[in-house]
Structures are given as C-alpha cells and as structure tokens.
Symmetry: C2
Subunit: 345 residues, 2 copies
Amino acid sequence: MALKNDLFLRALQGQSVDRPPVWMMRQAGRYLPEFRALRDQYDFFTRCQTPEIAAEITVQPIRRFHMDAAILFSDILVIPQAMNIPVEMRPGLGPYLPQPVRTASDVERAEVPDVHQALSYVFEAIKITKQKLDEEVPLIGFAGAPWTILCYCVQGQGSKTFDMAKEFCFTQPEAAHALLQKITDTTIAYLKAKVSAGVDAVQIFDSWGGMLSPVDYQEFSWQYIQQIIDALKPHAPVIAFGKGCWFALKEMSQSGASALGIDWTLSAMNARYLSGGRITLQGNFDPARLLSPPATITKMVYEMIDAFGKDRYIVNLGHGILPNIPLENAQAFIEAVKSYPDRNL
Amino acid sequence: MALKNDLFLRALQGQSVDRPPVWMMRQAGRYLPEFRALRDQYDFFTRCQTPEIAAEITVQPIRRFHMDAAILFSDILVIPQAMNIPVEMRPGLGPYLPQPVRTASDVERAEVPDVHQALSYVFEAIKITKQKLDEEVPLIGFAGAPWTILCYCVQGQGSKTFDMAKEFCFTQPEAAHALLQKITDTTIAYLKAKVSAGVDAVQIFDSWGGMLSPVDYQEFSWQYIQQIIDALKPHAPVIAFGKGCWFALKEMSQSGASALGIDWTLSAMNARYLSGGRITLQGNFDPARLLSPPATITKMVYEMIDAFGKDRYIVNLGHGILPNIPLENAQAFIEAVKSYPDRNL
C-alpha cells in the first residue's frame, strides 16, 4: 500500500515539491494535553515499553496537527538499558543511571544484546503504530548517537558540561572506544530491526556532539555515526542531527546521510554553505521562538522557508518542542508551512 | 612605572611577539588549594566584596604559575546586585535571584546605580591588586554581557536553556530592551571606573549568547556589547568573548574590540576565516582537555599555537578552568606556551 502523504520521503530524496514537509522534534510530548493525560496514568518506561501506549502517543500529534511525518515515541536510553546498564527516570532530575560506566571493567560488563529479544516492545510498537497511521504519513524511528549515549552512561545523569564523560574519553580512550563500539553495534542492529518492523526513515540524535572540539568530535562521535549511516543507508534514508555540530557539516554532508538536522544557531546561508549546498537540511526554528505570538511565528516560518528554499528542506525545530508551548502556537507553526504556497507575496 | 611583562598588551595591539601570551579564564579558582583555603573561610560575596581578599585571590595564580595577565577576582552578578536585583549564592545550586525580573514593572524597579558608590569595593580591590602585582603583569577587569546578565535576572538561577529569559525577550521585547539598556548603562559606567582604578584591559563575557539564533543575537545581545565596546575603547583594549557565538564573529571582528575570545568548537582555520584573519584571537583549549596527561597537554598546546600562529593570538581555554584539574596539568598548559619558542621541531 502506498503512503497517502509521501512529501517527507520525497524531500529526503531531494525531489522538487510544492512546499517543504514539516514535523517537530518531540512532537509527541508534554505540550499536548492528551500526552499529559497518559503521563499522569503511566510512568516513563511503562509508556516506552507498552507497545499500545507508545503507538497511541506517537499518533496523538498527527491526529491534532497533521504533520507530514510521525516519529515513534521512545527514548534514546532504551539502548543502554538493553545493554545491561540500568536506567531510571527520576521526577525532577530526569534520567538517572545508578551504575555508571567509569572503568574498563564496567565497559566489559556492558553487553551487545540480541535486540530482537531485548527491545521487542519497540518493534511491536512500530507495527501497531503503522496500523493506526493507516498509511497517512511516514513513520520515523530514531536512536541516540553513540557519543550522546556514552555521555549518559558515564555521567550517570544529565549535565551542563558532561565533564565526567569527557574525562573518561580523555584519560581512558581505549575503554571509551570499546564502549562506543558496543553502543554502535547495538544501535545498528536496533535500527535495522526498526526498519524491518516498518519505519520509513531513521534519525540519529547527537544532542551532545557540540560539546567536543572538532578533532575530538571526529574521534569520539562522528566515526561511530558514520558506521551507523553506512550500515543503515541500504535499508532506509538516514537523517543525522548533531546539536551544536555546525563545524562538522562538511563531513556529515559527504556521509551518505539523506538529510542533516541543524540547530537554530545556523543561518540558512551558513547551513547551505557549510553543508555544500546540495543535501536536504532539516530544521531549525528556535524552540523558544514558539513562545512568540502566532502571527509572529507565521511570519518567521515564511522567512525561514524563503531563506532555505522550498526544496531539499524539511521544516522542523532546532531541538525538541518545549513543554510550555501553547497549542495554538504549535498549530501556527505547522499551518504556516502548509499555507506557504498560498501566502500573500 | 612600566609593566615588566607587557606581552599580553602587545598581543592585543597586534604586535609581533616571540610567543603568544597565556592566561586562563577562572585562573583564580577552585582548582587551586590556596583558593580553596580562602573559600572555606569566607563565603562567596565576602570574597568578592572584601578588597584585600579579592586582591589576594587575584594574585594567587600569578604567584604559582606566572601567567602573562591577571584577572580581577569578582563575579558578573555584582552588576544586578548593584542595580537593586538581589543575588544570593546557594551551595550546590549556584547563583539564586529571589526576586527575578518577569514584568515591565520589575524592570522599572531595577536601578542604574552610581557605580562609584555601589561597587566601590571593586575599585578598591583593583588598587590593592595593582600594588600586589607590582607591575609584574597587566590586570584585566571584566563584566558579563547584558544578555547573559538578563538571563540570570529573569531565570533567577542557572539553566540549561534559559527558556524563561528567552520567553521574556520574545513575549515582552520592550521590557527586555529596557532592562538590557539599564544593564548596559550600568556596565559602561562600571568598566570605565575599573579602567580609572587601574585595570589595563577589559573583557566582556557573553556565556549564553550562543543560545540565541543569529537574528535574535543581534537584537538581544550584540547591539548592547557594541555599545560597551564603543564606550570603552577610547580608554582600554576590549576583549569580547561569546561562548557559542561563532556565527557572529564577522560583526564582532568589525566592532573595534582589540581581541575576540573563542570557544573550542572552532578550529583555528575556521576562527581566523570567520573573524576576517586580522584581529587578535584568544582561546580556545577545551577546559576538559586539561584532564589529559601533561605530556598530551604539551603536545596539544604546541599544535594549537602552530595552527593559530604565534602572532595576534592569546593562549587561553575556551571557557573557565574546571575545579577538578590537577595542578600539574594546569602547569603543563602554561609551561607549554612559555616553552613554545624552544620546542624541538
């Protein structure tokens, strides 16, 4: 059966389109009252690990706003969890890893699991989601970049600087690379299984790549993302998103990824220049700018599309939507993209 | 009386030198045992507000490591404090502002004080420091960029995203600009008085400028930094440092600043290119890279100077030194710069 709306996939292929597709990172999230209702009822990992609930959360924003792509509700930290590195979600603190990885022997204890067994709930959620979506829009699957996963595994929780993760890499580089390779191997198997289960594209999130110098980024982050792209691109289009990774856009553009996600510190001109001008770009509205009045949002979205051009472009935020965004503001963002061809010039 | 070591000032003037000067942001800080001894004895604002203690802390790293410049121990939040916006320092949390600025009437309550009265302790500390330094090396004075100060005034504490500060700017831009102008006026008077009291150069720290899009950065941060540079440059060389502000380096290079501080996400090539190739640059060793073994630090410092070139360059970190850096690693950093002309090629 063919997708009713394949605009997102056509933009990933670089085809010319009437308007760019639009979706929002964390679109299945706390700004939605229907999400908060399920959040009050089920804890974080119950939501991730119960396929029916994860599928329901995934389609909530599509029902309300009709974005051009859905993204499976899940979390990047299901990977360490599956690798025998326990992860808890603590209210007010966020992710907490009670047994952080700090030594070579900690790394040895981390397993490369059989993902079909350890993460079967994700593949089940994909199948249910595809039924619910009924070919309306494509479904994206995602994983964290190995470096970003390492940050949490070593630091044990969120951080402004992830200084313990960096200390681990800079003082025990062999152990760090062993861990990164285990995460990479797990992630490749995981994303391939997601594609087999039905996702139409995959996105790799490197939330903390921008904390590394360009040389350290190549060593501790990019080479592992490249392995994932190499392994996945025969199976599905890959989007690579590195927050703060403007300095690596050239290498990223030559990686075989179908698109690159970019944050809001890049002007369209800089983004096109640094990425070589030909690859599809995805982004990059400042999530906090969705706090502006809806009329301002509409104007800014039109200007953003004017600047990036309607082709080889996917409208998105530059990072996840914030929990305190009013519904009408999120709607203004989506509707602006849809009305772009009919705007008054 | 002339300075015994004026290498730092000559680099700011763009003169050719045998080796670049070196200092470290937060060099008077927690990694020093002699700093921790005073910290155990006096609380944060006692240290800032007691001229003899602030002066002693300022010269501690110079006595130990003989950097090429001292920077007056103080805090960027003495400015809101002087403006009638109370600031506390809470253990484990950091700065806490119990009466955050959230409305236009909050902005009205903020005062532009007589800095000579409100901040007299700073100017007294400068005079004592100059005596202690005995013309050994130049003394730098600093202030936060108005945007960075606004971040704390509105958010009320540190934050990963400063989303409340951005919400304030994006929903109440008039009130935000009124606050930014008051902070700017106070900062100009403050830095001029610092120069009168004896500092040889001033640095403006925009720690959170990189959280804004390029357009919003111009509106909410850069235009106010430009006002400060315009007002100060007849009196002393100005260094502008914006963490994450790579996208604004071109405007910054044309501002009249004597040097630009840069963080470690910029390769030397990108930094020279984006800043036009002529202005003195200051940076940009990843503070976490000081956790590497001393021999690695030495090698990386030599490579960094090779890449930037010895002229129009001031060696520094890309942000403040971390509290957990071993003394021998900090020493390796400083000594590498000093031994650069005699390195084995």
